[in-house]
Amino acid sequence: MIELKNVSKKYGEAVAVNQVSFDVKEKENLVLLGTSGCGKTTTLKMINRLINPDEGEIIINGQNIINQNTEILRKGIGYVMQNIGLFPHYTVEENIAIVPELLKWDKKKIQDRVYELTEKLHLPANSLKLFPNELSGGQQQRVGLARALVSDPAVLLMDEPFGALDNVTRTSIRKEFKDLEELKRKTMVMVTHDVEEAFELADRICLMDKGQIMQIGTPKELLFNPANDFAKKFLDGQRLALEFKIVTIEDIWEKLSNRSSINKGLSADISVWDAMEKLRNNQAAELQFSNNTQEYKSASFDELIKAFNQYKNFTKHE
């Protein structure tokens, strides 16, 4: 769907992005991860040509966008940014309706779509007539997302979309976003410096440093098969927590003991981390799980950790 081929960008002598190539499949969410100044935002902004690359090709839907009219290109790509960038002189409703107005949709269609999105994004109905500065930060970010989604573009670019929010709001909005139907059918490229966020939202992560790609892969690949020292060290601080969050019950299914006596349980899709949290919060001795082949298993806290360790050792030696 989106393909970058040897894309570079220089500012004078400084190379911001150096020979970056990757492709993003349809409906995939690729997260560009790295520290400040690693070139991830520059890479993102080249995809809708807010920044023009010096070298390389960027292909969206089979078309090289380097010579495409930028205005047409950008109307087809949703863009969410850290600073939100809502128009302070437009009401929330007008802010969301900017792109359809530019595309000259008829009034009724615009209104219906705006209402639909406000509902889906849990924005209070009375907020439509308000100005952005009258909303909370979290609400503003929802408006920013609604604005990007309104014309239902196939591609969505997100530049630190939760960066301006406090930790609590951030975690809850992120969860909500993850479950949002509208987002599941998008091809997304998202920039973040937050490792936890990347692991939670990404289908694949593109780890960057000094303008170059250090590793591209699924969160599991990054965790268990780091391509180089940089990739390994980058995750070291949060490694354990990430591993618990990334490994699902399904992954350790073989290592858990059978329970034929039960006939219902939690989905095996949940992470080990979530399972452990449930055990703690419910103060239960055991949890029951069922997988998609209607098998049933159960595990205590200790059994979970044991199974997880076995899985880890096995994966590493793979």
Partner: protein
């Protein structure tokens, strides 16, 4: 309280003039503001796009802003003549800086993320400009327009110097006539206008974006209507056009007399005497109110229309001497009288022409004149006591002071000190009364109207006749101040109506009555 009442009376008496001046003033302010916005706004946008240009353009606008307003109006005249055009251009130049600067500041002050969001949504450059940048810069931009408006209301008072009308006519007329009510009748409405417009614009700045849009549409329509106010009246009529100084406009022996004694009806603009002659020469004006011995009369080929009904009092020049000085310097009177009757109107005009137009020094003009009439004698280099000669602050008086100085040095043993440039009549006269100077050349009309100020009855009785006027001032000065009027020098530097010689002969107008008849016929 009494003052208040008379001001009110003056304003209601002159309400027609006041209204038309106010309308002109508003028109001038807004038409120039409109042009300033039309030029300043795009320039501001341009330099916000190309920041490198901002230094140069803001610099130029800043320099223009610092040019004194009178000088700026002066620069305009050779290029654009007199009247509305140069005034509008000058006002426009003053309004430019705040508009350009605030447009620029307003646009570059916008959060760059908002612009990035606009771009990312696929807005074109012009959509970003009109939907995002201008609306967001609007509060700052309006502040600039507000500043420009207030500046323009103030500077527009000066427009009356170059026949563009406005409330300055009353203000400057009042100043030259020392008429406080007249000054206030112009100054108060001008100040109120500034406060009112400033207040209105302040209100618009406080509005939110929605209402602002409506207000802007409304006010641009309003602006265009106001502008039309000014354009329409100036579009009427042809025929002859007169330009009178603010002072002349308000004097009985000026425009008022022309109306009452001659019934003269002519389209009139108010203009400063500094540019009046030039304007007549360049056919911007046909009739002007000049001084009969002004050098520019000759320089610009103008002709005086005979005052056949004698409304302009005679201004015959004569040295006036302190009696004490005559006693102290016994030879003085005879020496000064050497010049009596020697300088006619046309001779004085020629002498003035030499200094004002050929830029010869008063000394050279004085020597050349004395040599020509055979009165020149080389200085005796005497060691007697010092005679102090005074003069007012204009060319003609400088020349006379030099001539007298040379006559005294050539014919007596007195030493001479000239105190030229003693400001106006009051300063000269006070210096004479207080023995700071021994004599200076004065005019009979000035002595009568500015110093003695008798009641109107006496003025109208004697001011038709030059000899009666001379006799009256001479007797009264002697009685009141112990000052003696010596014999008149010969010329009469009075007010006069003048036209271009060529035009005057073409339409065969030689007197003011001829002019009236000509105007009535056409």
């Amino acid at each position: 309280m009494n003052e208040q009442q008379t001001l009110w009376q003056f304003m209601s008496m002159e309400s027609d003039k006041l209204l038309s001046q106010t309308v002109q003033h508003i028109g001038l302010t807004f038409i120039s503001l409109l042009f300033a916005i039309a030029i300043g706004l795009p320039l501001g946008i341009l330099i916000a796009r190309r920041r490198k240009l901002s230094g140069i353009i803001l610099g130029i606008a800043g320099v223009l802003q610092t040019v004194p307003s009178i000088a700026l109006l002066g620069f305009m005249i050779p290029i654009l003549g007199i009247g509305a055009k140069p005034a509008i251009v000058a006002l426009l130049i003053y309004a430019l800086l705040p508009i350009i600067r605030n447009t620029y500041t307003g646009i570059i002050g916008i959060d760059k993320h908002i612009i990035e969001a606009a771009k990312a949504m696929g807005m074109s450059k012009s959509q970003i400009l009109f939907k995002v940048e201008i609306p967001l810069a609007m509060p700052v931009l309006l502040a600039g327009i507000r500043t420009a408006t207030v500046i323009n209301v103030g500077v527009a008072t000066l427009a009356s110097y170059i026949a563009a009308g406005g409330l300055g006519e009353f203000i400057f007329g009042g100043i030259s006539l020392n008429n406080t009510n007249m000054i206030l009748a112009g100054a108060i409405p001008a100040a109120l206008l500034a406060i009112l417009l400033d207040g209105l614009l302040a209100l618009t700045q406080k509005l939110d974006f929605k209402k602002l849009k409506k207000v802007l549409i409304f006010s641009s329509v309003f602006l265009i209507i106001l502008t039309a106010f000014y354009v329409l009246p100036s579009a009427y009529g042809s025929g002859l056009k007169a330009g009178f100084t603010p002072e002349f406009m308000g004097r009985q022996d000026g425009d008022l007399g022309l109306k009452s004694a001659y019934g003269l009806k002519i389209k009139t603009v108010v203009i400063s005497d500094a540019v009046m002659y030039k304007a007549a020469f360049s056919k911007e004006l046909d009739v002007i109110s000049g001084y009969s011995t002004d050098g520019r009369l000759k320089a610009f080929g103008l002709k005086i229309l005979k005052d056949d009904k004698g409304i302009f009092p005679p201004y015959y020049a004569a040295p006036i001497v302190n009696q004490a000085s005559l006693n102290k310097f016994p030879e003085l009177e005879d020496v000064l009288n050497l010049l009596a009757g020697k300088i006619t109107d046309s001779v004085m005009t020629d002498l003035n022409y030499r200094t004002d137009y050929l830029h010869q020094t008063p000394e050279k003009v004085a020597i050349d004149f004395l040599v020509k009439v055979g009165l020149y004698k080389s200085p005796k280099g005497g060691a007697g006591e010092t005679i102090k000669i005074g003069s007012k602050i204009f060319g003609e008086q400088y020349i006379l002071a030099e001539i007298y100085s040379m006559l005294i040095k050539g014919n007596t043993n007195y030493k001479v000190e000239t105190k030229t440039g003693l400001g106006g009549t009051k300063i000269c006269f006070d210096a004479l009364v207080n023995n700071q100077i021994d004599f200076y050349p004065e005019y009979t009309g000035t002595g009568l109207l500015a110093i003695l100020k008798p009641d109107n009855k006496i003025v109208s009785q004697i001011s038709h006749n030059k000899d009666e006027t001379y006799k009256y001032v001479s007797d009264e000065f002697n009685k009141k101040y112990k000052i003696k009027w010596l014999k008149p020098i010969g010329f009469n530097n009075s007010y006069a109506l003048m036209m271009r010689q060529k035009q005057s002969s073409e339409i065969d107008v030689n007197t003011i009555t001829d002019l009236k008849n000509y105007l009535d016929k056409n």
